[in-house]
Symmetry: C2
Subunit: 181 residues, 2 copies
């Protein structure tokens, strides 16, 4: 293993990232593996990661699989080495978009589906109070709008996105219709 882990700041970063993960429903080891790869400038193989983070091999393997399913880590081949090696996405915009995409797929899409069915089911039912029908419907619509928006934003070229971010609330100035700002 490199001397990356000899740098206290690197260890510190990895630990913090692990904690962040747990706060957002990502398992600590998975987040730590990700942090390590993010800070590495060369592909690492599973054994190195185990050693660096003192995790069981199987745990690292699972973690790598999970990170790959998010598409923020990918397998690369290293010349003359039979083992798989791994590198992390280092473009943070790309990373965020990919994380969002996967969580949308795993959690939001099924929820929209589910709420759609609920809304359907209570639609016009005498025994269901109006306000319940309304609120289920509004939740359905709301989550739909959010994910629709995400799908849109995802397809914007990165420079446009960055420009948008930088604009912040200044965006209001450029919108059609009355300037409500």
């Amino acid at each position: 293993m490199s001397k990356l882990l000899d740098i206290p700041e690197v260890r510190s970063f990895i630990l913090h990232w692990g904690e962040m993960g747990t706060e957002w429903g990502v398992n600590r080891s998975v987040a730590q593996v990700h942090a390590l790869l993010y800070l590495s400038d060369r592909p690492l193989h599973a054994e190195e990661i185990c050693e660096a983070l003192a995790l069981a091999r199987s745990n690292v393997s699972t973690g790598l699989k999970e990170l790959q399913s998010y598409q923020i880590v990918r397998r690369v081949h290293v010349e003359g080495d039979r083992r798989d090696h791994f590198v992390a996405e280092t473009d943070l915009w790309e990373m965020l978009m990919k994380l969002a995409a996967e969580r949308k797929r795993r959690e939001f899409d099924p929820t929209i589906q589910f709420l759609g069915e609920l809304a359907e089911s209570v639609n016009g039912r005498e025994d269901v109070p109006t306000h319940v029908r309304e609120r289920i419907g509004r939740m359905h619509e709301f989550i739909g709008t959010l994910t629709g928006w995400y799908a849109d934003v995802r397809n914007l070229p990165k420079p446009t996105l960055v420009r948008l971010m930088k604009l912040g609330r200044g965006i209001a100035r450029f919108l059609p219709g009355k300037s409500t700002d």
Copy 2:
């Protein structure tokens, strides 16, 4: 308790919301209490919530406190009743913004602080590889940009926000500079 819980769709909604919570680092009971209040058109007191969700009184109390700390549930007084009653925010935009605000405060602000210190600490250090300094710095800047953007968006009037959302990727058309869309 009302007959809300007699409606299978209502139970179903509450259960699903509870699961969603756990996926995002919010405790299941807390999310369920929230779901129940969201679907209720009148203030509920703690005892009713316990009964409805079959949770211990203390658990409900903790959950309500948590929801209040997010500002998506508030205490209201009901005429002639000594007990505290609770209602949920039903404007979903408002709710999302408040959730975001609180998680920013709890998780992002400390992380930015932390990364700032790390970046400071490795700045110009010979023993820290350039790419590590760079990547820590970029992460710091990135999270900073995100939360800055949030702060901006939060202050936009809701109609503007909604307009923005609806526009989606069409937004590119209205931006200054070359139309990269």
